[in-house]
């Protein structure tokens, strides 16, 4: 592999599976429909909380939202299963070495349309999607209070996905490269096609300042839709989901 030997560091040691952010919070998405009533929600859950909390939470939610009591078990089950999913990966090696991935946002929250792209370092366990989203909303002057959490959630979800993907790919590469020692630089293509070619971006010859023509691609776009547009969009989404 054409790679300069990196100084010995913690990044060589494969990281155990977790959400690669400061808080190890699991993104939970709920979409439950009972008797024509649909409940959709997205939030994060701390996996280290006792599972008894799940039921308490479900009851509380149903009560607050005045949903039929049938929802309680559904909600609790959904959360439980998602947590179980998460826990099934815990303890496994996630990946080794550098991993910076692009995160893409393309979402609509109520009337706000957000499109953005940026890089996320999976090794940075100080990262805070919630804080990032807050800054984003402040900088972009977004008034809707639901947008921030939605952005943070979207980031977490993607990170979660990538983490899962990495666990599996790490397992595979461990199998295929058994016996090889030291840090292996896995090119972006092999590592699942999402992580960046770090040498290309952070090598000595290149600048960390993006070329001007790339700026547009990494520039956040925020659109405020009119209520008619929202209606039209929802109608179309409803069609495609059904």
């Amino acid at each position: 592999m054409p790679m300069k030997p990196l100084p010995a560091s913690s990044s060589r040691v494969p990281v155990k599976f977790r959400i690669p952010t400061a808080d190890n919070l699991v993104p939970i998405r709920l979409d439950i429909e009972i008797d024509g009533q649909r409940y959709r929600d997205a939030f994060t859950w701390n996996p280290s909380d006792p599972d008894s909390e799940v039921v308490v939470f479900a009851k509380r939610t149903v009560k607050d939202l005045k949903l039929p009591p049938a929802f309680v078990t559904q909600i609790a089950q959904s959360i439980q299963s998602q947590l179980a999913d998460f826990r099934s990966y815990e303890g496994q090696d996630m990946f080794a070495g550098e991993k910076i991935v692009p995160i893409k946002l393309d979402m609509r929250v109520n009337q706000t349309l957000v499109r953005d792209q940026f890089l996320w370092d999976l090794n940075n366990f100080e990262s805070d999607p919630e804080e990032f989203a807050r800054t984003f909303c402040r900088d972009m002057d977004i008034q809707d209070p639901e947008v921030g959490p939605a952005i943070a959630f979207a980031i977490r979800e993607q990170l979660y996905e990538i983490a899962i993907h990495n666990v599996t790919s790490a397992r595979e590469s461990r199998v295929s490269k058994k016996g090889r020692r030291g840090f292996e630089y896995v090119p972006a293509s092999k590592a699942g096609g999402i992580s960046l070619d770090l040498v290309k971006y952070f090598g000595h010859k290149t600048s960390v300042v993006r070329k001007r023509k790339d700026w547009d691609a990494f520039e956040p776009i925020v659109d405020i839709l009119s209520s008619e547009e929202v209606d039209a969009l929802e109608a179309r989404e409803g069609k495609t989901t059904r």
Binding site: K4, L6, P7, S9, S10, S11, E98, I100, I103, F118, L119, W120, D121, N123, N124, E126, S127, D128, E131, F132, T135, F136, R138, D139, M140, D141, L198, V199, Y201, F202, G203, H204, S207, V208, V209, R210, K211, R212, W215, F218, E219, P220, I221, V222
Partner: protein, 573 residues
């Protein structure tokens, strides 16, 4: 808080200090473009522990420099993280950390308004935000957004079309492509063209060059006379590369410096135009008439100039009866007759000379008037001019001129030196003006000895005297100069006395005037007092009269309301 000059070191090595002034808090004074401070190392440890290829000190520095430069493009606007991150490759969380670090230390967003409800005017409206972004000069490589254009008068910034407007032209996206204002351009860069029109600015000390300046021949760079004289002409430049340029006020500057070429030109034009100083000055161009005359006096009289004064000055001296030159000239030409008869020629002629000088000194004031009048003519002989100069500029210059004249004659030929200094021994006659006396003595000695050897031309006809004639004339010239010096001194004294007298009389008159005024005022006061007394009397009279009338009215038994109406006109009258 303090103001610290943080100018970005220019990659081309030009000195950019003081070009840009940004305010940063004093606690951030550790900041330096060239270095990474321990504060930064501590706060952003991940860049310095070598843990990742994506987190190196170099990358940190790139991030930092870019963000700060970005902010400084317009320090009055609040820089938003979201605006920065799209231009930088890297983990957004890490970028955010750097951003917050810089913000916390006031290196960015210090002068910007605090982020309020309407935070980030650039991001709210996508159009304006995008346009502003396009203004930034960032290409490949390190944040080269910094393109400050060097020294104020390097000429480059002048090319910018209407820079003040251009700064905001960037909003119209498309124009940003062709025109880019250097991100750290300062006032002096942008407005250098305007400043230049106001006056030449010294590139060394920054002052304006009023009396003239030295122009750098290898580029557009000026320094003022002071800096030139001090030798401070900026690095990489030698004094030899500077050429004098006359400023507006240099006509008044007698100490104007003459270049070799100008002196040459002066001498040439004098030989061509003679005493017509207007023409000479025209020819020299860079100097005024007065400057030319002064310069000529200061110049050691070389062979060239003497040849001129021989040829030209002599025949004019004949009719210039009012000036001392001709007098001395005639005196020396008279001498031969007397020396023929007298054996003790040295002593005799010297006395003659002294008398002559004294005569000349006695009639100082009228002569001075005549000369002042002739200044405007400008067409009189060189000698006239010289003596005029001596009258105007004091004895020092004239005596120096006389000395150099003699020494020049001495240098010219060996023979005169013998004549001048050979017989110096026997004279010991003191005088009120030592310098001139000495000169006159020398010259006169020369004359006398010459007469001893060779009979004068007018008496004996054109024999071998021809070779000595120029010498005689030269001696006369030198003597004239000496006399001129003496006169200058006396004239100056006279002038002083006159001025004193005039001032005294003026003061006296003023005093008289004041006295008269005081007198007048006293008189006025007296009159006023008298009038006041009269008025007082009148007042008393009126009051008593009124009382009288009232009493009469009361005794007559007039009713009150009638009383009032009837009294009113009376009181009013």
């Amino acid at each position: 808080m303090a103001t610290a000059a943080a100018a970005r070191p220019d990659p081309r090595g030009e000195d950019l200090d003081e070009l840009d002034l940004y305010t940063i808090p004093i606690h951030s004074s550790w900041f330096s473009w060239d270095d990474i401070h321990d504060t930064e190392r501590d706060a952003l440890r991940e860049f310095f522990d070598g843990s990742s290829i994506s987190r190196t000190p170099k990358i940190y520095k790139d991030y930092r420099d870019f963000i700060i430069n970005r902010y400084r493009e317009d320090s009055s606007r609040r820089l938003a993280f979201t605006e920065v991150r799209k231009a930088l490759v890297g983990d957004v969380s890490l970028l955010r950390k750097v951003f917050l670090f810089l913000e916390k230390w006031g290196l960015i967003n210090f002068a910007a308004p605090p982020s309020g409800g309407a935070g980030g005017d650039g991001e709210g409206d996508g159009d304006g935000g995008a346009a502003r972004r396009s203004r930034v000069v960032v290409e490949d490589g390190a944040p080269v957004g910094v393109r400050v254009v060097a020294v104020p008068n390097s000429g480059r910034p002048v090319i910018l079309p209407a820079p003040a407007v251009g700064k905001y032209d960037g909003r119209k996206g498309s124009s940003a492509g062709q025109f880019r204002l250097p991100s750290l351009a300062s006032y002096s860069d942008v407005f250098a063209g305007l400043m230049k029109q106001k006056g030449l600015v010294c590139g060394s000390c920054g002052g304006t060059c009023e009396s003239g300046c030295y122009e750098y021949t290898k580029g557009e760079f000026n320094i003022c006379v002071n800096c030139y004289n001090n030798g401070s002409c900026g690095e990489n430049k030698s004094l030899g590369d500077f050429e004098f340029r006359e400023g507006k006020g240099s006509s008044a500057n007698h100490a104007a410096i003459w270049t070799e070429a100008e002196t040459q030109l002066l001498l040439e034009s004098i030989s061509k135009h003679g005493n017509d100083w207007d023409l000479v000055a025209q020819n020299v161009k860079t100097k005024t008439k007065l400057d030319c005359i002064l310069k000529l006096i200061e110049l050691p009289f070389g062979e060239f100039m003497l040849g001129y004064s021989n040829g030209n000055g002599r025949d004019r001296n004949v009719d210039g009866n009012a000036n001392n030159t001709s007098q001395v000239q005639s005196a020396t030409s008279e001498l031969p007759d007397e020396t023929k008869t007298e054996k003790q020629s040295n002593v005799q002629t010297e006395e003659m000379e002294q008398n002559q000088i004294r005569d000349v000194l006695d009639e100082g004031p009228p002569l001075k008037k005549a000369r002042v009048a002739s200044l405007s003519d400008g067409g009189s002989s060189l000698m006239k001019q010289v003596s005029l100069m001596s009258a105007l500029f004091g004895p020092n210059i004239a005596s120096a001129a006389a000395e150099s004249a003699v020494s020049a004659i001495c240098n010219e030929t060996f023979c005169p030196r013998e004549i001048f200094y050979g017989s110096k021994g026997h004279i010991s006659n003191g005088s009120s003006v030592p310098t001139t006396n000495h000169l006159g003595r020398d010259v006169e000695n020369g004359d006398a000895e010459m007469k001893d050897e060779v009979p004068p031309a007018d008496a004996q006809g054109p024999l071998p005297t021809k070779s000595h004639m120029p010498l005689q004339v030269r001696a006369a010239t030198a003597t004239a100069l000496g006399v001129a010096a003496a006169r200058a001194k006396s004239l100056a004294d006279q002038e002083d006395r006159e001025i004193e007298h005039k001032v005294a009389s003026i003061i006296e008159t003023q005093m008289k005037k004041v006295h008269d005024k005081i007198k007048y005022f006293e008189h006025l006061e007296h009159m006023m007092e008298k009038e006041y007394a009269e008025m007082d009397d009148l007042k008393g009279l009126v009051v008593s009269e009124r009382i009288n009338i009232l009493q009469k009215a009361l005794s007559a038994g007039i009713t009150r309301w009638r009383d009032q109406s009837s009294l009113k006109p009376q009181a009013g009258s």
